[in-house]
Subunit: 341 residues, 2 copies
DNA sequence: CAAGTTCGTGTAATCGATTACACGCTGACG
DNA sequence: CGTCAGCGTGTAATCGATTACACGAACTTG
C-alpha cells in the first residue's frame, strides 16, 4: 500500500537532486545557466518525482497567468465555436491556456472584470461589441491598460486592438452578386444595428444598391437579430406583402435559413421564387435546403490571428500603445440558393 | 495625471479601513465573524479601492483553483459546443471558471496531465473516451484520485464517474421507428467502434433488427467516423449496389446529412427513395434538406449534469470513492427524412 | 468580585516558485 | 603569488491571501 503521494514540489525535486530549489528553477527556465552535471541530475530528479510546476505559485510570483480569456455572448453558437477552436490551437502553440466565459443573466459590464483584475487571465479576446470596454480598462483617461483584442465586433474605442472582417466590402460583394444575376428587386434582412461591425453590412448593401442605381424599398428592409426566429418572422413579413423582392441579402446564415424555411411552407421556393444569400458560411449553410450561397468568414483564422495578436501584446512583442487593426477578407461561396432573375 | 494604479491588494484595503489583512479576508469569506461596524468600514474600503481578489494567491494558499477543465477532441464540432455552453453555465452558477482543451497533435496521454497536476484545474470533464485515464489518475492500484467525470463516451474503467446517454436503447428506438414505418430493408452507417458508447449504437440497431426478425445485411453495414466525408463515402457505397436498403440508420447526424447529400446528387431522393434517421439532433439537423429525423441527445443537460456532478465531487458533497453513473435518455424527433415504406 | 466565556481582532506562518544578491571556487594575468 | 573576473550555486526575500493561535475587552455567573 503506497501512502498517498502528494504532488511533488520544487523542494522535493531539489532534495532528491541534492541541490537548492533555486537551481531546480534555473534548470527549468534557463538551463544554460547551470552546469551540465547538475542539470542532468536535476532533470533525472524531475522525472523521478513526476514533478509538474504549480501554476498558482508561479502566477503569484510572476504576476501573470499564461492564460487568456475568450468572451463571447454565446459559445453554443456554431459561429463562435469554430473561432474558439482556432483560439485554442493558437494559444496552445504558445503555451497558453484558454478560459471561456459566456454572457449570463448578470450585469454585462461586471461579468468579465472579475476575471481580469484577479490575475486569472493575462488578456481578453472579446467577441461581444455590446460590452463597455471602459469598465474593463479602468478610467477613461488612462486608455486601455489590459491586453485586449476585439474580434467579430468592432469596439467604438479606436484604441482597442481589433481583428475584423471587412463587413462593408463583403456585404457590397454579396449584394453585387445578386445584381450581377440580374435582380433589381432586392431586399435586406438586417443584422442588429447596435453592433457596429454588423451595421456595416447594411451600409455595404446600400452602397452597392446605390452604385447600381437600384431603389432601396423600405418595406423590404427588415430588422433581424441573427436568430432563426427573426428569419422566420421576416419570411412572414414578406409573405404579407403584395409585391415581393426577387432576391434577399441576409445579415447572417441563420436568418437566411429561417426565411427560406418559412417561405417554403407557404409554397414560395428558393431559389425559384426568391434568391437568398447569407453571411458567415456556418457549417450548416452547405447542407441547408437548398445549400446556401453566402459570404464566408475565415472564422478559424480570426481566432488564430486574434489570439496571436493578443499574446504578442501580452508578451510585449507588439507595443501596447499602438493599436493593431487587422482586416480580413470574406469570400463569396456560390451554392444553390441564388440564381439568375 | 494619475500615477499608474497598481491592482489593489488585500493589504491596501486593510490600510484604508484601518484593520489587518486578516479582518478583510474574514469580511470577504465569513462576514458574520466580524462586527457590524468594521464590516461596513471594510466593505466601503473594498469598493473605494476597487479591490478584487488575486486568484493566484488564493489558489496557492487553498490548494484549489475553482476552475474545471473541459477536454474534448474537437471543440469546433457543434456537438461539443452546445455541451460546453451547458458546462459554462453550470460552472458559473457555482462560481467556477472553465478551461477548455482540445486534443492537438501531441501525445494523447500527455496533453491533460500537465493541466491537472499543476493546480490549474480542480477537476476534469472528459469528452473523449480514447484517453487512457490511468495516465491521469496515477498508478492503477490507487484508482482515480483526481475528480473526473466522463461524458459522451464511456471509459472502460468502472471507477470513473460518468454521465451518458443510453445509446443502446436510443439506437434500438431509432431502428424500431424505421421498422414501424414498414421498412424491412434497413442499413446502418456505424459509428467508430473503438468508442464504447458509440459501439452501443450498433448493438442497439442489431437488437432491434433481431427482435423484429429482420435480416442484417453485411453489405448495408457501413463503417463511418462521424464526419460528413464518411457519409458521402457511404452514399457512394450504396449507389454502387444493385440492391439498396429502403431505410438507413446513421450513427450521427453529420454522416446522415452526408449520405443524403451524396444520394441526391445521383437522383436518389430522401425520403422518397430512402428514409434516413440520424443521431444527436445537432442544430443543423432541423434545417437540412430534408429536415432530418433523429434521436435528440440532451446536450446541454449532459453538460450541466456532468459539471454539477464534478463540482459535487470536488467539494466533497459526493463521496469520491463511490462512482456516479448517470444515464440520460435520448428522444425521437420526427421530421421529414423518414416516411412509410 | 474572581473566574470563566465569548467575541472581535491582530500576529505570524504558510502555500510554492522566482530571482537579486552574496559567496566560494577556478583560472588568468601581471 | 596576489588580485580579479567569471562561473555556478545557495540564501533569503517576495508575490497576496488564508487561518491557527493569541490576546484583550466585555460580559456572565456563582
Amino acid at each position: 500500500m503506497v501512502p498517498i503521494r502528494k504532488t511533488p514540489t520544487i523542494q522535493d525535486v531539489a532534495r532528491q537532486a541534492n541541490v537548492s530549489a533555486a537551481t531546480v528553477s534555473r534548470v527549468l527556465s534557463s538551463p544554460d545557466r547551470v552546469s551540465k552535471t547538475t542539470r542532468e541530475r536535476v532533470q533525472a530528479a524531475v522525472s523521478a518525482t513526476g514533478y509538474t510546476i504549480n501554476q498558482a505559485a508561479r502566477s503569484l510570483r510572476l504576476r501573470n497567468a499564461r492564460t487568456i480569456l475568450m468572451a463571447a455572448p454565446n459559445i453554443g453558437n456554431p459561429y463562435y465555436s469554430t473561432v474558439l477552436d482556432g483560439v485554442i490551437r493558437a494559444a496552445s502553440e504558445r503555451g497558453y491556456s484558454v478560459l471561456v466565459a459566456t454572457r449570463l443573466g448578470q450585469d454585462p459590464n461586471r461579468w468579465l472584470a472579475d476575471y481580469l483584475h484577479s490575475n486569472r487571465a493575462d488578456g481578453l479576446l472579446l467577441f461581444d461589441g455590446s460590452l463597455d470596454t471602459f469598465g474593463i480598462n479602468g478610467s477613461d483617461e488612462e486608455g486601455p491598460n489590459l491586453p485586449l483584442v476585439a474580434a467579430y465586433d468592432e469596439i467604438p474605442d479606436p484604441r482597442v486592438n481589433s481583428v475584423l472582417v471587412d463587413n462593408r466590402a463583403a456585404a457590397a460583394r454579396a449584394t453585387r452578386h445578386l445584381i450581377e444575376l440580374g435582380h433589381t428587386r432586392i431586399g435586406h434582412l438586417m443584422s442588429p444595428s447596435r453592433n457596429k461591425s454588423l451595421h456595416e453590412r447594411r451600409i455595404g448593401f446600400e452602397q452597392a444598391m446605390q452604385e447600381a442605381g437600384l431603389p432601396i424599398r423600405p418595406e423590404w428592409m427588415m430588422q433581424g437579430d441573427h436568430s432563426l426566429g427573426t428569419g422566420i418572422a421576416a419570411g412572414e413579413h414578406l409573405l404579407a406583402q403584395s409585391e415581393r423582392p426577387t432576391a434577399l441579402f441576409c445579415g447572417n446564415d441563420e436568418m437566411a435559413i429561417g426565411v427560406v424555411h418559412r417561405l417554403r411552407l407557404a409554397g414560395v421556393e428558393c431559389p425559384r421564387d426568391l434568391s437568398v444569400i447569407g453571411f458567415d458560411d456556418i457549417a450548416v449553410a452547405a447542407f441547408a435546403a437548398p445549400p446556401l450561397t453566402t459570404m464566408r468568414q475565415p472564422r478559424e483564422d480570426i481566432g488564430r490571428f486574434a489570439t496571436n495578436t493578443l499574446i504578442d501584446i501580452i508578451e510585449g512583442v507588439i507595443p501596447a500603445d499602438e493599436p493593431v487593426h487587422v482586416t480580413l477578407r470574406a469570400e463569396l461561396v456560390l451554392r444553390e440558393s441564388t440564381r439568375r432573375a
